[in-house]
């Protein structure tokens, strides 16, 4: 029902826009210069007054309405719920709500049926109330708008201020979300470090968190000794290093070929293909690479009399390196391409060969971008590969990588234009 209201509200905003604009045109009496703001602004003014409060109510209802209903139902079935554990209570409420919406899991108990019936009646009445409130707000707003529109009314200022307010609201949401993520990360980590001593974590050499928990979701004893992060750090660093050694030369040389040597026909085909490949999540390549590359490496190792397991850092690094090649080369190609042609011409005009131009002018100019591309590719791969690893570790590593990237960029920036 709420989505119907949304559609109606949008339609009403449109109608209010035209009503406001027409009113302004009528007031101008054929002389557009007599209006302070153009008719479109009067239209927006009417649309905002008529529907912005409605949208706010609707959003508020979406965010908090469900919880209010849950409270009401919970209060009605308090006797029943007080005998249950926390997760069981949540499951009861959830099942009842789903049941009311027509989604049935298993055999519902009579209590759940009763709760669902309550939900249904609550849904019905809130829909009516919500509809009435929205209609009243819209009608009031439109009347107010049409009453207040005059030729000299500064609706342009009103609209600009409203737009500014909306933008501020959006950025506040973005900032709050970020703060929320960081805070929850910190609190989770603090809880973790209450169980596992910090120094054991930092300098421990045994990492196998899977073996720490007995049974799924159990509250059992946690073996703090298996959370040594040294192998995690060292392993990640080693893998990253190997991956860079693989991906940098191949990706970069491919990008140079594509941007400066390939014919425009070849480029027209190869570049989109590369972009599509770069868009594929790296884990997908990781999966194929792990299936095909790791055995090859093991066989190679066997051939040289070494035993290389497919879980080794070498194998993982090679796989990761291969999987970021499309990403690295596509990104580097964009960056190399954005070096102005005028610089290439200037170098060629002095008698430099193509490769001299690339080595001495194009690459230095593109270097900061290329370094960031590498770090971006690696942090992306690390993020996807090590999604099972501890959030805070990843967070810190990514942060460190970004700081390094910024430093490198500032150090090597060679400005053009």
């Amino acid at each position: 029902m709420a989505s119907t209201y949304l559609a109606l509200l949008i339609g009403f905003a449109l109608a209010a826009y035209f009503a406001g604009a027409r009113r302004a045109v009528a007031l101008s009496a054929g002389n557009p210069a007599s209006l302070h703001s153009r008719p479109a602004y009067h239209g927006f003014y009417a649309a905002i007054l008529a529907t912005a409060p409605g949208f706010a109510v609707l959003i508020g209802w979406w965010l908090f309405g469900g919880r209010v209903l849950d409270r009401i139902v919970g209060a009605r079935f308090q006797v029943l719920l007080s005998a249950m554990s926390g997760p069981q209570q949540q499951a009861f409420i959830r099942d009842a709500r789903n049941l009311a919406g027509g989604i049935v899991y298993g055999e519902p108990t009579p209590e759940k049926e009763a709760a669902a019936a309550l939900y249904r009646s609550l849904f019905a009445s809130t829909d009516i109330v919500l509809g009435l409130i929205l209609a009243a707000l819209a009608a009031l707003g439109l009347v107010l708008a049409l009453r207040t529109i005059t030729a000299r009314r500064r609706t342009r200022h009103f609209v600009e201020r409203f737009v500014r307010g909306v933008l501020i609201a959006c950025s506040v949401v973005a900032i709050l979300t970020t703060i929320g993520i960081v805070l929850s990360l910190i609190f989770e980590s603090l809880r973790f470090f209450q169980k596992v001593p910090f120094l054991d974590f930092l300098f421990g050499t045994h990492w196998s968190p899977q073996s720490a928990f007995v049974g799924a979701g159990g509250d059992g004893e946690i073996d703090a000794g298996v959370f040594g992060a040294v192998p995690l750090f060292a392993g990640t660093l080693l893998i990253t290093l190997i991956a860079m050694l693989v991906a940098t030369p191949i990706g970069l040389l491919a990008a140079i070929y594509l941007s400066d040597y390939a014919s425009s026909k070849f480029r027209a085909v190869a570049k989109p293909v590369l972009e599509i490949l770069a868009g594929v999540p790296t884990v997908v390549y990781g999966f194929f690479a792990a299936l095909s590359v790791a055995p090859v490496i093991r066989r190679l190792g066997d051939g040289m009399g070494l035993s290389v397991s497919s879980e080794s850092a070498l194998a993982a690094g090679l796989v990761m390196g291969i999987m970021i090649i499309p990403f690295v080369s596509s990104l580097s190609d964009d960056i190399i391409n954005s070096v102005p042609q005028a610089l290439r011409d200037g170098s060629a005009g002095l008698g430099a060969t193509k490769s001299e131009t690339i080595r001495k002018v194009v690459l230095p100019a593109a270097l900061p971008g290329i370094v960031s591309a590498m770090l971006l590719a690696v942090s992306r791969a690390v993020g996807e590969l090590a999604a099972f690893a501890l959030g805070l570790v990843l967070f810190c590593m990514t942060l460190a990588l970004n700081v390094i990237a910024l430093g490198v960029v500032a150090r090597y920036r060679e400005r053009y234009d």
Binding site: A342, G346, G349, L350, G351, E356, V361
Partner: protein
């Protein structure tokens, strides 16, 4: 010999006389105002000779059967409405058109009697002899010093560090920029003003000791004061270099050049001494263009 100033070259390169005589039939363009040409022929032999030059971009022809002589140690101005092929022609002279995939050049272009499109010409060497300065200043994102040292480095012109420093200082001095930048040679070249950047680009071109300097509208991105400085510089440079300059400013052409060539729709309309072209053009299109009636 319809062209008296070509008649008696005193210090020509080998084979010069014979070629001059042979090409009269393929130089159909009207030349004007050659009343007192003898001194020019002495001290200003033909440096670059073009005959029957056609240039295509894909299927589109941009230059038609062009024939023109560029004289040594003189400034030759190329004028004409936009899109008439001035840049295309100037880019033929040091084979910058090679870098454009779809460009195709045919005909004869000789530098000191040597065909620059012949297979045994090394483009790298050619561009060391024929430098180019572009419309928009394009210093490399490197220090002022490195910008000028770039050419000498890739051509191995400096024996050592002091040698290189000397070349850089000399080039900057000749480009009239040294006094302004001598205390900050390590600063980025891109931090200079537009006019200084253009003079840096000229210094960069001079540093490889070219014989010819091509300039494609070198002042169109500069303010009047910077323009005046560059014009002064060009006048100075002509003692040692052969200069070809594309310009849209008739006043500039009149101020800095000794010879002028008028292009129109890919054809050379006429070519001759600058004062003659400006006071007494033979072609109606030239007359209309320099009086601002179209273009």
């Amino acid at each position: 010999m319809s062209n008296p100033d070509m008649a008696e070259p005193i210090t020509p390169p080998a084979g010069h006389v014979a070629e001059e005589a042979a090409d009269d039939s393929v130089a159909p363009v009207a030349t004007v105002g050659e009343t007192d040409p003898a001194p020019a022929a002495d001290s200003h032999p033909v440096k670059i000779r073009s005959r029957n030059v056609d240039v295509f971009y894909g299927d589109k022809q941009a230059l038609f059967d062009l024939g023109i002589d560029i004289r040594a140690r003189m400034v030759t101005a190329l004028i004409g409405p936009s899109g008439c092929g001035k840049s295309t022609y100037i880019r033929c002279l040091n084979r910058m058109n090679d870098t454009i995939e779809i460009a195709r050049v045919s005909g004869l272009i000789e530098l000191d009697g040597q065909d620059i499109y012949s297979p045994d010409i090394d483009v790298v060497e050619l561009r060391a002899r024929v430098g180019i300065v572009f419309q928009k200043p394009n210093p490399f994102p490197k220090s002022i010093f490195e910008n000028v040292a770039y050419g000498p480095r890739i051509h191995g012109l400096a024996a050592g560090k002091t040698d290189l420093e000397e070349i850089v200082v000399t080039s900057l001095t000749r480009a009239g920029l040294f006094e302004e930048v001598k205390d900050r040679l390590e600063d980025p070249g891109t931090g200079l003003s537009g006019g200084q950047q253009q003079r840096l680009c000229i210094a960069r071109a001079i540093a490889v000791s070219p014989e010819v300097i091509l300039m494609d509208e070198p002042c169109s991105a500069l303010d009047p004061i910077a323009t005046a400085r560059v014009e002064e510089l060009i006048d100075d440079l002509r003692k040692n270099y052969t200069i070809v300059i594309v310009t849209h400013s008739m006043q500039q052409a009149a101020r800095v050049s000794q010879r002028t060539a008028m292009f129109h729709l890919g054809y050379l309309v006429e070519e001759g001494q600058t004062d003659a072209i400006f006071t007494n053009p033979t072609d109606k299109r030239t007359r209309d263009y320099i009086t601002g009636r179209y273009g």
